[in-house]
């Protein structure tokens, strides 16, 4: 089959590789019909994520048609499914509590050591995202082996356009969980840092959960326009002082809840910022940590901080005092995709959530390297690249 493989920094190629097969009884094989490039894929592209190997197949936002099933899969050939980016077993204690991204069994045993050492516990597996998240081949390919297919993929009704449901795989549930973690109450004002795909879905989700006002913060004009389209007020941090603007806009109270979705595009585990303090201070330690600092400082007393943005290691100058003294609640975590998929599929079908607005570019899988280059170099206009095998 053809698949987008990582070969090194800024070097991704569409290669011909062996087709995947059923290996374990709960597996299925899907023929990919649509797959997206995620902002976090750019960190692989930029060479920031350790434990990558040349030839690794990328992609964790994908969907397709079931073409083969293992003996214990509950899927049927011909079904159209969207696959969660988190690989979770459905059988362990955490899956039982719907904490799917904390699944005990999603990672091969040998791949659990890094997270065990770094975080104290291994987490769920991820598709196409380095060997410390399992080394699973990803979805920017013609075919994918999907483990635990009886609990992961969600079946899509016939006749629904791929583009409407593709983002159930990651960014829509991630934006929704970000808003849920903000514990929004009717009448709340919610501030969202970052208007990437997750931030934009968090804006929509916050309104659906009863927020009266949402204030979106970014510096890309096109992305702020999209937030405005969904009813958000906006702050361009290159043109205005964020804390001061928020204080005036909220009558000196501050937002009731704040959501940091900057750097959210990164699902990665930035071990390099643990191992390399210099890189940490220049890459993760300044800009990215800045948004969480600013969010905590701006949040009203007794308010809620939701942090879908991914942080992998340690950050300097974390305002722990403000968190404590103001009595804030902080909720965070990788997305429990499987938990949110059914309700969000319904919301899409009922027209409550708009997903397709995000897609700026559609390309053939063969053109994926061009897609990476465009996405990296023009984030204002390129909001989402969807790849389709056989599109041309």
């Amino acid at each position: 089959m053809r698949a987008l493989a990582w070969h090194g920094k800024h070097d991704v190629r569409v290669d011909t590789v062996d087709d995947p097969e059923i290996v374990n009884p709960r597996d299925c094989i899907i023929k990919v019909t649509a797959t997206a490039i995620c902002g976090s894929d750019l960190h692989l592209y930029d060479g920031y994520i350790p434990t990558m190997q040349a030839g690794d197949i990328l992609g964790h936002e994908f969907m397709g048609e079931v073409v083969e099933v293992g003996a214990k899969s509950t899927l049927k050939k011909g079904q159209k499914v969207v696959v969660p980016f988190t690989i979770a077993c459905g059988s362990c204690y955490h899956c039982g509590k719907h904490q799917y991204s904390a699944c005990d069994n999603g990672l091969p045993a040998d791949n659990q050591d890094v997270a065990q050492e770094l975080y104290g516990h291994p987490m769920a597996g991820l598709f196409g995202y380095s060997h410390m998240t399992g080394g699973y081949a990803g979805g920017q390919a013609e075919y994918v082996r999907v483990p635990f297919s009886d609990v992961g993929p969600i079946v899509i009704p016939d006749g629904v356009d791929d583009e409407k449901v593709l983002f159930l795989s990651d960014i829509l549930p991630t934006g929704w969980m970000a808003a849920e973690n903000a514990q929004i109450e009717p009448g709340d004002t919610v501030a969202v840092w970052g208007c990437g795909p997750v931030g934009l879905f968090a804006v929509q989700s916050a309104f659906l959960m009863g927020a009266e006002r949402v204030i979106a913060i970014d510096h890309f004009p096109h992305r702020l326009e999209l937030a405005k389209k969904f009813g958000a007020e906006t702050i361009n941090y290159e043109e205005s002082a964020v804390y001061e603007a928020l204080m005036v806009m909220t009558g000196g109270i501050g937002p009731d809840a704040v959501i940091d979705s900057v750097g959210l595009e990164a699902h990665g585990f930035f071990v390099d910022n643990v191992l390399d303090q210099i890189k940490a201070s220049t890459f993760l330690g300044t800009d990215r940590a800045h948004s969480i600092r600013q969010a905590i400082i701006a949040c009203r007393k007794g308010g809620r901080v939701s942090m879908p943005a991914v942080y992998g290691g340690f950050i300097d100058k974390f305002p722990l005092g403000a968190l404590m003294e103001k009595g804030l609640t902080l909720k965070t975590g990788q997305t429990h995709v499987q938990h949110y998929m059914p309700a969000l599929l319904n919301a899409i079908m009922e027209g409550k959530i708009d997903t397709t607005f995000l897609i700026s570019h559609r390309m053939d899988l063969e053109d994926a390297p061009k897609g990476y280059d465009m996405f990296k170099n023009n984030q204002n206009e390129v909001t989402k690249v969807v790849l389709k095998p056989g599109f041309n």
Binding site: D19, V23, C89, S91, C92, Y93, G134, P147, F148
Partner: protein, 192 residues
Amino acid sequence: MHDTKPHGDDAPPSTWKKRDAFAESGIPDGKGGSLVARAVTINRPVSEVFAYFRDFTNLPTFMENVERIDILDNKRSHWVVKAPAGKTVEWDAVVIEEASDRLIAWASEPGADVANSGQVEFRDAGARGTVVTATIAYDPPAGIVGKLIAKMFQREPAIQARRDLRRFKQLMETGEIATAAMNRKQHEEELA
């Protein structure tokens, strides 16, 4: 396991910083001077977890370096374990203590290539399933035997025990052992 605590806390002997933990570990007929303990909670009933483990012919399915276990009689078994260059190390192990759904303790018999002993405890954890705690004593090896044991335990026994217990948990909870292999050929190469 032992009545007196040398320093008054409840931490397991394998985690003690100062004392010679092994002497206090309570492992019957211990072999060797190093001690490692790992615990895992398995979301299945204790009777099921114990029964699977007690059938020693099942162990090679999740202990990746164990090639084969031959049952000699109800207490004794012959272990064949992978070593470098396609070689193997072997020993006879004898069950020296056993309590149904609670405990299995073993020790290698004289003449073992790698002397070892240990115990696996099973504890009903109610809604959480079963807590399985493996405690292994072994001789920190040197020279050629050191190389064998390094291969046998990949890096060190603590890591190997942890990985084997993870695989045991995966098998009991999900019915399979997680792998990123894309196809059966890759999977076979991983297992080889």
